[in-house]
Structure formats: C-alpha cells, structure tokens
C-alpha cells in the first residue's frame, strides 16, 4: 500500500495513473481475532483504526453487511461542529473537531475538512437567550464561540430573507468559526485505508447473523462467511442497533430507528461560504454548499419508526418550505437527489457508548442527528473503552445505564420521545 503524497500524484500523472494499488485489502476472514467490530461505517472503521494506532491492537476485523460508505456515513449532510448546550456533549464533540482538524494528515487521506464556520440563526428574544447560554457553556468549556447580532449576520450572509415579511425574522446567530464540513465518503475510505495499513481486516459483504456467548460473555460472531471467534466484540451499527443487539439477547434498548432525509440540488456557482442552520417551532433546517456546487441540506426526521432508507414526501415539502423561508433565492433551484438514512434516535437525544449486560460486548449507538461529526471521537473513545474494558472520563456519562440511574443527557429537554430530539 503506497503512501499518498505530492510525489505519488506527480509520478502517477506521468505514468498514466497505472501504478495505484487498491486502497485496502479484501482478505478472507480469519478464524479468530482479538477484537471484532460489527459495522463498517465511519464509527466502526475509526474504532478499528484507533484500536491499532492508540492501543497497539491490530488483530482486528471490521465486519460489514454491505459496502463501505453505503450507510449513514454516506447519507448525512457532512456538517461538523461542537456547539452543544450540555457541557459533556460539547466537550465530546470538541474533541471530535480537534481530531477532524488534523485528520487528513493523520490518515494520509484527504477528507476535505473545511472549517468554513457555522451560523445557528435565532428568530426570537427567547431563542437568543438559549443561544447566549450555549455560547457561555462553550466558552466555559474552552471552546470559541460568538453571538452575532442581525447586522453582523447581514454582513456575513447578505442573501438571506431580512425583509419585513420574513416568516422567521433573523435577530442574530451563534457563530462557531471552527465548524465546517467534510467529504463524508472520503472519511469512510480514509479510515478504512489507514486501519488496513495497520493490519486491520475489513470484511465487506459479511452480514452478522448471530452473536456467540458463553457464560454471560461474548465469544465471537456468526457471519454469512462463517464463524469468527473474538475476545471482544464492539457493535457500531447505528440504525440497526436493536436488530443486532437482539442477537445478543438484549431485546429492549432506549432507542428507536427513524429515517432522516438529506437533499442535494443541481450544482450552482458559489452561493454560500458557510454552514447555516436554524430551528424554530415547526421548522428545522441546515444547509451548506458542496465543493461541486450542490446545495446540501436537510431538516427534520420523517417522524415515524422506519428502517426504509428512502424519504417520504411530506418532509420534502416541509424542508423546501424551510429553505424558502430563509433563502428565497433558492426558489428556482432544481433538486437533484434526496435520500434517507436510518438514525438511532435515543430516548434523551444523546448517544450511548457503553459496556453492556454481556461481558466484553460493547455498544456504540444512539447518535440521533449527530453521528457524522462525531466519527473520529467516537472511534477514539470506543477503542479506548474496548481496549481497557472501562469508559474513560469523557465517555462515562454516555453509559447505557444512565436511563435507569436518572442521569439522562437531554440536550433539548424533550423527555423520552425519540422523534423530538
């Protein structure tokens, strides 16, 4: 596997691009590994990478039902930020942003992380208070954030609807300059290649059909390509967590599967040089422009439990209305594609990274809307949990038993209704 560099690009340019190796191997499964990670999405691949890099555990397999980048890693709107209200969440996502900042160098793979800044608009004095609190929480956690007034937002993005008759009058915004976007499928490929170079086996087209246990401890997985024994098994299959954990006898979880749609328009000339998001009662919207020029945007869930990776029409209308309410200049832009991914919506709107009632079986789930931006930190801390069989300081709060202990982390204060988080 060759190292990517300016020189390799020049060399292959002169050789007609004939000398590139495949980016990762396609190995046959071994009979036994130290760790098996179920799920070859961004989180699973990142976990395998950090197991090898940070903990020296290289006898690892990532077992994936489909292909890399075919699930939620390739279905999100690519936004990366760390502006949360709950201190433990904002600290976790801040660690992720810090990892993102050096990820392309670390992986030797260009994930096109672009810190173009994110504006979270607010439309009422009450919403301004909420965002001011968010800024204060972030500053107290050592994370840079600014509260902008209406004139500052107008100077930054002049083509929003600032008119008298705007459905959502813009009073100002919270700005995180270090937030941005990344190329999502490159994240899966980059982690896969980097993990593979450290010796991790990536097994695609290998659905897990059972989780093997003896005496209350996990001993491996049953797959369509045979039995694979393992000392430890980590499950990172957001969207299908309930389905996979049921194979280990864990029938009930504080998670519902919901679908979230994303949209991309035809390519346009440069129109938006930052990420914009807003939320108001009945409206939820976020948008950025990809490097190819497409406007990438999304909104709310479809609001009913679903495992179908396709969106339904009422939310298409809803999101289009949200777009027009804030950026009327999009009115004649044609939609190119829309699709859906399956979210693990947890009961408090926060992820679960935890040991489970089955010994040496670990779960990484419940990411709600936040999975993509969490990818590097999720892998980092899940690898630490698996390697040391105990949560680190930043992960302990995200345990599965927080619900029965009464320590939920409810970012929006919505209570145990997954679709509302």
């Amino acid at each position: 596997m060759s190292h990517y560099s300016v020189w390799s690009v020049l060399r292959e340019g002169l050789r007609g691009q004939t000398g590139w190796d495949r980016a990762w191997r396609d190995p046959e499964p071994k009979a036994e590994y130290d760790v098996v990670i179920v799920g070859g999405g961004g989180h699973g691949l990142a976990t395998a990478y950090y197991l090898a890099k940070n903990h020296g555990i290289t006898n690892v397999a990532v077992v994936e039902k489909g292909w890399l980048g075919g699930g939620n890693t390739g279905r999100n709107t690519t936004i990366v930020r760390s502006n949360y209200v709950q201190p433990v969440s904002t600290q976790f996502y801040e660690h992720s942003v810090q990892l993102w900042e050096n990820l392309s160098h670390d992986l030797n793979y260009n994930v096109m992380f672009s810190q173009r800044g994110q504006l979270g608009l607010f439309h009422t004095p009450a919403a301004r208070d909420v965002q001011a609190k968010r800024v204060n929480t972030m500053l107290a956690c050592g994370i840079e954030a600014e509260l902008l007034d209406r004139e500052q937002v107008m100077a930054m993005v002049p083509h929003l609807d600032y008119s008298e008759r705007a459905r959502f009058p813009i009073l100002g915004a919270i700005l995180q300059k270090r937030a941005g976007t990344a190329r999502h499928d490159a994240v899966a490929w980059g982690f896969a290649r980097a993990a593979d170079r450290l010796g991790v086996d990536i097994l695609q087209q290998t659905p897990v059909t059972g989780i093997l246990r003896e005496g209350g401890a996990v001993t491996g997985v049953e797959t369509a390509r045979g039995t694979i024994r393992a000392s430890k098994v980590g499950v990172a299959v957001a969207g299908s967590t309930g389905h996979v954990m049921a194979m280990a006898g864990i029938e009930r979880l504080p998670i519902e599967s919901h679908k979230l749609q994303a949209f991309v328009s035809e390519p346009l000339k440069p129109l938006l040089d930052c990420v914009i998001g807003y939320g108001a009662p009945g409206a939820h919207f976020y948008i950025s422009q990809s490097d190819k020029g497409g406007m990438v945007f999304g909104g709310d869930l479809d609001f009913y439990n679903s495992y179908a990776q396709r969106g339904n029409l009422p939310i298409v209308q809803d999101v289009a209305e949200c777009a027009m309410a804030i950026m009327p200049c999009l009115g004649r832009v044609k939609l190119l594609r829309h699709w859906a991914g399956i979210m693990d919506m947890s009961m408090d709107g926060t992820h679960i990274m935890s040991k489970t009632p089955v010994e040496r079986l670990y779960m990484n789930a419940g990411w709600c809307y936040g999975g993509f931006k969490a990818t590097p930190a999720s892998g980092w801390h899940f690898a630490d949990l698996i390697a040391n069989d105990r949560p680190d300081d930043l992960t302990a709060a995200f345990s599965l038993d927080r619900f029965e202990r009464g320590y939920t982390i409810d970012e929006k204060g919505m209570g145990p209704t997954p679709k509302l988080h």
């Binding site: 009930r252 519902e256 599967s257 609001f303 009913y304 009961m347 029965e404």
Partner: protein
C-alpha cells in the same frame, strides 16, 4: 405517501396524522418498581418488521388509532381505535 384507513374517516394520507409511538408498551401501576417504570418509559423493542403503533388523526376526526405497520416496507396492516370503549361502540367492522 403512506395511506392509513381511519375507521371513522376512510383512507387518508399520513400527513393528516401525527405519530404517537410504540403501542405495545404497557405502563405499570403507579407504585410499581423503578425497574418496571424504566423498562416502560425507556425500553423499546424497535422491531424491523411489523410494528403496532399509535397514530393520532390530528387533522381529521382526532381519534387515536392503533395501526399495524411494517417498519421496513411501510405496508399498513390492521387499523383500529385505541380507546377500547370506542372500539366496542363502533364494532369490529367499523
């Protein structure tokens, strides 16, 4: 668009309805143990396949319904009133 046949109003687009979540959850007695309440409030089987769930015909007759829907195909099975009194009053064929 999913179409749900409301026993009162007939076949309607699901945009007339509001989703109310898992209808198989049995809430325990008020003095039940914390474990039972935790399981009822937070524990979901979240099936991939047939799922009994509440839908509220919010922009219609406003009745709460129990709908059987496949979470993978969105196919609708049985639909009945959630309230047992209403179910009895309207009869099985309603």
């Amino acid at each position: 668009m999913i179409r749900i046949t409301c026993p009162f109003c007939g076949e309607r687009d699901h945009s007339e309805f509001s989703y109310g979540g898992d209808a198989t959850v049995d809430y325990p007695a008020l003095d039940a143990s914390a474990e039972e309440w935790t399981a009822a409030v937070y524990g979901r089987t979240n099936p991939r396949g047939p799922h009994k769930e509440y839908w509220h015909h919010l922009n219609g007759c406003r009745a709460w319904l129990v709908v059987e829907r496949d979470t993978l195909t969105h196919e609708i099975g049985t639909v009945e009133f959630a309230h047992p009194g209403l179910r009895a009053a309207m009869g099985d064929g309603a």
